[in-house]
Symmetry: C2
Subunit: 405 residues, 2 copies
């Protein structure tokens, strides 16, 4: 069968023919539920026995950009292989992969029916108290155990070779680190923000210099197998645990990029409440929850990562001083990447619903300006911020200084 | 024909059958001239018309270590592909490659009959006044034009994939960055130096921490296609120009590793004269030549690299401030790598003839101790040394402070 995007009927037949999950093809129904940019996502369900699976199929183009951005469909290889490795390292913190097909460029995987997308939960004001603990486990296990500090160096380089992922990296290089910092056609600019961008943001050479530093780090620092797109829309969550998915951007890159992505998306949600019609009490309370989650996330990550280092580092990385310098660099770089990931969500092609659901464009621009102010401060001062508590007190200060409600 | 190490007769027949260089097999003679650790090197010569070529064939083991260090013979692929790229980028600053054979694991290449190995020249006190100018061209062209600052990022990652070179990197990781810093069996220790190592050098935690920082950078910073073993024994030179060879360690690594390797080997020669029976005038004069060569090498490299950047950088790396930070980081990291490359030549498996030709072990130990003192100072203070002139004045100060003649 040659590659073509599945229709509903075709994907039902495909799953029935190629897996042992369902017994009767006539009981199966199908729904396309994708809201991402790169793929078709189908849910195939047997109503009778309540089983269901997800089929994710790669498209040839970046969906939001139309047909003009061709992309290798082989990216499902990166996704399925990355999810398998991450599952192994974390005792199952990703969906199970049932089948991966290089020809049809699709993955058949576990349907996480009892989970919701974390971004949607946060937008509705929902708190997840296990989040920092679980995500810090995921990050510390994956980032430590795929690094040179833990792995056999020959095996690490072979794994790295399997995850050379030029086309998906190019998307990040362009959309996160390049286009938002000038008046690029690819940008998606709120007209109420344009004045600020033209007269201030795009003219800020110190900001742009620091973005270039982070970009070069993204392109050259082959530190760990990173997810590469770890925002709150890539996290399935419920009251008990979470699952990480959408790993097609995986490659050997800077560990701090994943940490920074999570923090950025929590901060975007934090800032977004200034543009929403909620009570002051609710806003303060939810921001307090997010603040504590970010602090707890980093502190638990640091604790677990250092514990893994002390117990399992290769014998030639034995110096505690180096361990501490390594983790300190992770921290500062996480702030730098976090900043880039926040700023691009207000200027670049892909935005976040947390902010774009604010329909009043003036209100939205006020929120976006605060994001850009905070992003600017963080990227320029990232190496002088000495702790996660200090980071969050800076966020609080900048918010109370610049927020317009 | 299955792989086996060539005999003299076999290699003559091989070259005659597989190239169009020679006309009459009966006129060919062969000599094995290898003094490296990893390969057989044959010179095949036709006495009548004075043509000659070099055949380099990979062995299965690291020669100095005996049969116990198995190595992929496919490393000749890295060498021949790297030399081809470097030749293209530098208008022929490497030997020409006539044939590369994946099966017999050999390269047939240009015989540089009018050149000598630079290390041997320096040991004999010979000066090469074009060296800094030519090598700075080689380094700036190759390191700039294989980096993300210049290359298409997708092409760069594909090239990087072709140069994932785990086994040869492992040799460097072990012999340059690990074994010399503890009492490893692989070390080659002058008995007169052992006391200093046991009571001081191997106990110096600050030193070891900084070596671990440089090691991790070597393992993770995929910046440019580097030669990976650019010492003065990998440079053929005469009064007019130079050729770079022995590129089997090539991989995508930190640009500063190549720069540091060259500086280290010039400094090793600089320091070695303290243990040799030469006049004070000669020693001072030759050291002055080396000092000026190192200063000129860096300054010309910096000038040419920045010029390339200004004229040819990708449009998204446009900030002059970032350019200057990038080059400043190259400088500091070059000092750090230089230090590691110096120290390992006094403690680790592979030494340099510059120092080991000092037969008196006490005198040799005095020279080695000065190398280790200088290496220690440089790696700990690398980020505070603000210029190449300052570096060389530090070398002069430490030499006059610690040298025992």
């Amino acid at each position: 069968m040659n590659y073509k995007p599945f229709t509903d009927q075709e994907v039902i037949k495909y799953v029935y023919d190629n897996t042992n999950i369902f017994e009767n093809i006539n009981l199966l129904s199908c729904e396309e539920i994708g809201d991402g940019n790169l793929n078709l996502v189908f849910r195939i369900r047997d109503k009778k026995n309540k089983k269901s699976v997800i089929v994710k199929q790669a498209l040839d183009y970046l969906r939001v950009a139309g047909d003009n951005w061709p992309l290798t469909r082989q990216r499902v290889k990166f996704e399925s292989e990355c999810l398998k490795i991450e599952n192994d390292l974390t005792n199952g913190m990703c969906p199970k992969i049932y089948k991966y097909d290089t020809n049809m460029c699709c993955i058949v995987m576990e349907d996480l029916v009892d989970y919701e997308i974390m971004r949607k939960g946060l937008i509705s004001g929902k708190k997840y108290n296990h989040f920092a603990n679980n995500l810090s486990t995921f990050l510390s296990e994956v980032l430590f155990k795929t690094s040179d500090i833990f792995m056999n160096p020959v095996e690490k380089k072979k794994l790295m070779m399997n995850f050379i992922n030029p086309e998906l990296c190019k998307i990040t290089e362009d959309l996160v680190f390049t286009d938002p910092y000038y008046d690029s056609e690819s940008n998606n600019v709120n007209p109420e923000l344009r004045d600020y961008l033209e007269n201030y943001f795009w003219k800020n050479n110190e900001l742009i210099t620091n973005v270039e530093i982070m970009k070069e780090k993204f392109m050259t620092h082959s530190q760990s197998l990173i997810h590469g797109d770890l925002h709150t829309g890539s996290i399935f969550i419920n009251d008990k645990d979470l699952k990480i998915f959408d790993a097609e951007f995986a490659f050997y890159g800077p560990s701090s990029f994943d940490i920074g992505a999570v923090i950025a998306n929590l901060l975007l949600n934090y800032i977004s409440w200034g543009g929403k019609d909620v009570s002051k009490e609710f806003r303060n309370d939810f921001r307090n929850y997010l603040k504590n989650s970010i602090i707890e996330l980093w502190n638990l990550f640091e604790f677990k990562f250092k514990k893994l280092w002390d117990e399992k580092a290769n014998k030639y990385y034995k110096s505690k001083e180096f361990r501490d310098i390594y983790v300190e660099n992770l921290f500062h770089d996480s702030i730098g990447f976090s900043s880039c990931k926040m700023m691009r969500r207000c200027v670049g092609l892909a935005h976040v619903e947390d902010i774009d659901e604010i329909r009043d464009l003036k209100k939205r621009a006020n929120v976006q300006k605060l994001v850009l102010k905070i992003g600017e401060f963080l990227i320029i001062n990232r190496n002088d911020i000495e702790s996660i508590e200090k980071l969050m007190s800076i966020i609080e200060e900048l918010t109370s200084k610049y927020e317009i409600i």
